[in-house]
């Protein structure tokens, strides 16, 4: 029997690992990677809450769905900015 808390613990750990990376990494792409981890953890949470607490509704699932799409678009813009910054200053360390 898989309990809800197990999922939540995993997502918490994943989220804070993302935060750790976000704080410590110097490379902007690596920072973005950490951001992806954090968003991923949040999306898991949405799905888990929906499934365990309100199984007859779909809000959580759709939030996850939208979240994934928004993450993708955000990544596109962020990477474009990073590439542009690299072109102008030749360095993407922060």
């Amino acid at each position: 029997m898989i309990k809800m808390e197990y999922y939540l613990i995993i997502s918490t750990l994943m989220f804070f690992i993302g935060i750790y990376g976000f704080i410590t990494r110097k490379n902007m792409i690596a920072v973005l990677v950490s951001l992806e981890l954090m968003l991923n953890a949040v999306e898991i949470n949405f799905a888990v809450f929906n499934r365990y607490l309100f199984p007859n509704q779909f809000e959580g699932m759709f939030f996850t769905f939208f979240g994934i799409v928004i993450t993708a678009s955000e990544t596109v813009v962020a990477l474009a900015i990073i590439i542009n910054a690299y072109r102008t200053i030749g360095n993407i360390e922060i």
Binding site: I19, F22, I23, T24, I94
Partner: protein
């Protein structure tokens, strides 16, 4: 007579005009503007004079006070209000005539004297400011307005003494004049405030009315430190007057004030501003007489002493303007003494009238002396009489006018000084004989030092001068005309029947020359003149011998009884060392340091906080996160979840 307000407004407007235009206009133009402005004032003053004394001034044989203009300036409460206005009565009109005439003459003289000086525009602006404030002073309807203009007069005096601000001596002198008079004015202000506290009015009319009934009734019985409050108040007001009128021991600023341009000295430090103290006491005379007779006695005492002191010091001075300055001190004290010994009403008040009379005549012959001295200084470029001599040949007009002024000041009949001095001496003779004898001695001393000055400058032998002998010549016509006009005033000024116009109770009375007194004074004068002639007319070393014979005493007098040094010691040791240094220490170590420490603490805090605003994104997130986690943990604890 509403037009009389113009007499104040015109100089004020000119002051602003010249002050604002500054160097944008030519210097002679500024002189012309100033002179014309004062000329208009002269005309107005004489029209007022004529209208008052010959048309409207007298009702029921009494010179009434006319207040053509009066408006409430500050309306604090119903009881406390300050007015601005114009008060016309015999003494204010007399002062009006003196001030405008002398300043007009001095303006004309300045056109010649100041030509080519840098900052001429500034000079005329200051002169206009002075004329404005002096006229405001004499026309004041209430004591507070008088105080305001009193300070303005002090400021313009300061500005004119420090006119040559590049000379350190002038700067020091101007500061000294300002600080000393300011110090005295503090007493004046305190006196005014206490007076108004008791009487609830500043108005001269209210104070004087019914033989100063207001003061005597409202302040009766109030005692402070063993003396009655009335005595305190009027002594304090007298201190203010003494500061302005250079009465011992507050006279020290006047000799130094001679650093200013000579025409300004003639106007301010001989004829007008220095007599404002006398004017103040004269204005308040009924109050002094009825309410605080002991202060009047004090005035007589101090005045007599100062007169004697001034004339003794004047004998030894070698700076032409300093001699005149000490002579001024002595003569003003004469006026003070005259007010002090005066009685009230009719012939008893003749000394009061004589004081005003002497003020009137003194203004003319003393400014004449100063202008003559200025003429000499303008030529030889030195103030030291030991470097002058034999100038009569080169500048006869100046010499003759100076001679007339000397005769006038020592009181040779029929020159103007004789009449006024004789009135004072007569009054003293019949009221206070001791004072009379001292005054008589002073008359002798005056004649001695004035003729010493005259002989040393214009006769004696020609000494080594700073200038070429060929260049020695009479001054320009612009400087000579004022000398001639003032000479006429000095000769005929005494013929004005003063007792008809001015008296303590505003009623005309008649005086006649007391020939006993006149005879005594003439003898003394002759002694003085003869001894001066004997010592100084020709080159000889008798005077040096006498100086050596007197030894220490001569030295003490030469150094003006070391009063300057005593004051300096007082300021240096007492005020600077004992008061200023501890205060400075407190200021530096307590106040400054506390502020500095506060600044340092804030700086340190800001340095440590600065790290928070590093601009590093990751650091921001770190702090943000720490905050969020900390707050969450705290809220857990507070909510009691733990």
């Amino acid at each position: 007579m509403e037009y009389s307000s113009l007499i104040i407004i015109i100089p004020f407007v000119i002051f602003f005009l010249l002050g604002l235009l500054g160097k944008r206009i030519k210097s002679y133009l500024s002189g012309l503007i100033g002179t014309i402005g004062v000329g208009v004032c002269v005309v107005i003053a004489y029209v007022i004079f004529y209208q008052y004394f010959f048309k409207i001034g007298k009702t029921n044989k009494v010179w009434r006070e006319i207040i053509p203009l009066n408006f409430k300036w500050f309306h604090f409460t119903d009881k406390l209000q300050i007015d601005l206005g114009i008060l016309l009565d015999p003494i204010s009109i007399m002062m009006l005539v003196v001030i405008t005439t002398v300043s007009f003459i001095v303006h004309i003289y300045s056109l010649g004297y100041m030509r080519g000086e840098s900052g001429e525009q500034r000079y005329y602006a200051f002169l206009s400011l002075f004329v404005f404030s002096m006229l405001g002073l004499v026309l004041a309807t209430n004591i507070f307005q008088m105080y305001i203009f009193w300070e303005l007069v002090g400021v313009s005096s300061y500005l004119l003494i420090g006119f040559y601000y590049t000379r350190p001596m002038a700067v020091v002198a101007s500061k000294k004049a300002f600080i000393v008079t300011r110090f005295a004015d503090f007493g004046f202000l305190v006196g005014i405030l206490i007076l108004s506290y008791y009487t609830k009015t500043f108005n001269f009319n209210m104070l004087i009315k019914n033989n100063a009934a207001l003061v005597t009734t409202l302040m009766k019985g109030e005692v402070f430190c063993g003396l009655s409050v009335i005595t305190w108040v009027f002594a304090l007001i007298f201190i203010g007057a003494a500061g302005k009128s250079a009465i011992f021991p507050l006279h020290i600023w006047l000799p130094d004030a001679m650093e200013g341009p000579t025409p300004a000295s003639a106007l301010i430090h001989a004829a007008t501003m220095v007599v404002s103290g006398v004017y103040l006491i004269a204005r308040l005379f009924p109050v002094y007489f009825f309410a605080s007779h002991d202060v009047l006695k004090m005035i007589v005492f101090i005045g007599t002493f100062t007169a004697l002191f001034g004339s003794i010091v004047a004998i030894t001075q070698n700076d032409i303007k300093r001699v005149l300055a000490f002579s001024t001190i002595s003569q003003i004290s004469y006026m003070m003494v005259a007010i002090g010994i005066s009685g009230y009403g009719g012939c008893n008040g003749s000394a009061y009238m004589a004081s005003m009379f002497h003020l009137f005549t003194h203004a003319f012959f003393k400014s004449l002396l100063f202008l003559g001295a200025g003429s000499v200084i303008h030529l030889v470029h030195t103030n030291d009489i030991n470097n002058m001599g034999g100038l009569h040949k080169y500048m006869p007009v100046t010499s003759i006018s100076f001679f007339i002024a000397c005769l006038s000041i020592v009181g040779v009949p029929p020159f103007s000084g004789f009449y006024s001095k004789d009135e004072i001496l007569t009054a003293a003779f019949y009221t206070q004989p001791i004072v009379f004898w001292i005054l008589l001695i002073i008359v002798g001393l005056t004649s001695f030092y004035m003729f010493r000055l005259y002989f040393l400058v214009f006769w004696n032998h020609v000494k080594k001068l700073n200038v070429n002998y060929v260049e020695l010549h009479e001054s320009s016509i612009l400087m000579l005309v004022p000398l001639i006009v003032l000479s006429l005033f000095s000769v005929f000024g005494g013929l004005v029947p003063f007792s008809i116009f001015i008296s303590t109770d505003s009623m005309s009375f008649h005086t006649r020359i007391d020939w006993t007194v006149a005879f005594m004074s003439i003898i003394v004068i002759i002694i003085g003149i003869v001894s001066a002639t004997f010592l100084y007319l020709k080159k000889n070393d008798k005077s040096t011998k006498i100086a050596i014979f007197c030894g220490k005493f001569y030295k003490i007098v030469l150094h003006r009884f070391y009063l300057n040094e005593i004051w300096l010691w007082m300021t240096r040791i007492v005020i600077f060392k004992c008061i200023c240094i501890p205060i400075k220490w407190f200021d530096k170590h307590v106040i400054d340091n506390s502020i500095n420490e506060l600044g340092l603490i804030i700086q340190k805090i800001s340095f440590s906080i600065k790290l928070l605003q590093s601009g590093k994104l990751q650091f921001y997130i770190l702090i943000f996160l720490a905050g969020v986690i900390g707050l969450t943990a705290i809220s857990f604890i507070l909510l009691g979840v733990v």
